[in-house]
Symmetry: C2
Subunit: 220 residues, 2 copies
Amino acid sequence: MSPRSQKLNNQMRSQTLAKIDSAALKVFAACGYHGATMRRIAQAAGLSYGLVYHYYPSKAKVFRRLVDFALTGSLEAMQQFMHASGSAWERMTAYAAMVVSSLFAGDTSLYFVIILQAMTQGRAIAGLPAHISRMFGRYYELLVPVIKEAQASGEAAPGDPAALAAGFFSMVQGLAMLTFQHQGLEERITPALLVNALRNPGYVPRSQSTGRPRPSGRKA
Amino acid sequence: MSPRSQKLNNQMRSQTLAKIDSAALKVFAACGYHGATMRRIAQAAGLSYGLVYHYYPSKAKVFRRLVDFALTGSLEAMQQFMHASGSAWERMTAYAAMVVSSLFAGDTSLYFVIILQAMTQGRAIAGLPAHISRMFGRYYELLVPVIKEAQASGEAAPGDPAALAAGFFSMVQGLAMLTFQHQGLEERITPALLVNALRNPGYVPRSQSTGRPRPSGRKA
DNA sequence: GTCTATACACTGATAGAC
DNA sequence: GTCTATCAGTGTATAGAC
C-alpha cells in the first residue's frame, strides 16, 4: 500500500483498460453493438471474461465510452481547425485535408464506424440517441458559421449551409466506411474530393469579374 | 385443389410475404441485424411468431432477401439512368435528382439503411460481404465510364473517377441516414448538393475560353 | 395456412477462489 | 487484480395442434 506500488497499480490498471478499449473498438466495429459479445472482446484483449466486468459494469458502458471518445475527439479536432487563423475557406480545406489523412492513420476509421453503429443500433442504450443528436448539433454550430463566411466570400457554394455541412459529413462517414472495408485507398481518396463538394462552381478568384453566370443550371 | 383456389392461395401467400418483408424492413432498419428479433418482426407484421418461419427458413434469409432487394433495385435504377440518352453530365444530374427525390418517397431510405447495416454487421451471414462487394463493383462499372465521359467534356471534376463515384455514393448513403433519423429535410437537401460534388470548378461552358486556371489549387 | 408451446444454445452479469 | 464457474434471461428454430 505504499505510494510506489499504488502508482504501479494505477499504471497497470490503465494499461489493462487500454487493452479492453482497443479490443472493444475492433469487435464493435466489426460486429455492431448487438453482434459483439463481451466474451469476444475479452478474447480479443487477451484477458479473461470476468475481468472485463471488473473495469466496466456493462457492455453498454463499454460501447458508450467508445462513442463518447469518438464524438468528443471529432469535435475537438473540428474546433481546433475552425478556430484557427486564415480565411473561412482555408480553414475548411485544412480541416478536410486533416480528415482525409486521419482516415488512414491508426484506428480513426474504426471510430467513424462506431459512430455509425451508434446511430443505427444505439436505441437500446438509454440516452444515446439524444446524446448523438446533441453532439451533431454542436458540429453544425461549429461548421455552419464558417460555411456562411465562405459563402459570403463566394468560395463556398450557395444554398442552405446546414445542408452543405450535412453533405460534407455524409461523405466523410461514407469514405471512412470504405477505408474500413477495403484497404489501399490512400492514394485514391483525396482532400479535393471533400473540398469540391463545398466549392462554389461559379467562383471567380478575385480579378476578372466578367459577371458571367454560373456554368450550369442549379436546379437540374 | 382446383386451379381457382390455388390461385387464391398464391395470392394470399404473396400478400403475407409482403407483410413480413415490410415489417422486417422497418425492424431491421431500426435495430440492426443482430438487434432485430424474429418475434419483433412477427409482431410488427401482425402475425404469429411461428408463421414467419413458414415463409423463411431463418432470420438470415429474411435479411438477405431485403439486402438483395435493395442492391438490385439500386442497380436497376442506376442502369436506367446511365443507359438513357443525353450527355454524360445530363445523365448524372438526372440520376442525382432521382436519388434525392426517392429519399423522401416511401421506404427508399430504409433500404439504404439496410445496405448500411449489411455492410457493418453482415459478416455473420455467409457470403454476404462478398455479395456486397460484387454488387458495389457493378455500381462502379456502371458509373465510372459515365464519369470519365463527363470528365472528358470538362464538366466533371478531374481525378480518379472511381474516387469521385465513391464520394458520390458516400454522400447518398449519409443523406439517407439523415433523412431516416430526422424528418422534414425535404427542402434542405437538394440534388445540387450531390451534383456539386462531381462538378469541375474550372469548367467554362463552351463560349469564352479565357484559358484562366482553375479558381483554386487542387492539392490544398 | 396459422397458431401455441417448447427444446436448445448463447449471452450478459455475478459470485467466489486464488 | 485476475481467473473460473454458474445463473437467469433471451432468442432462434422446431414440433405439433387446429
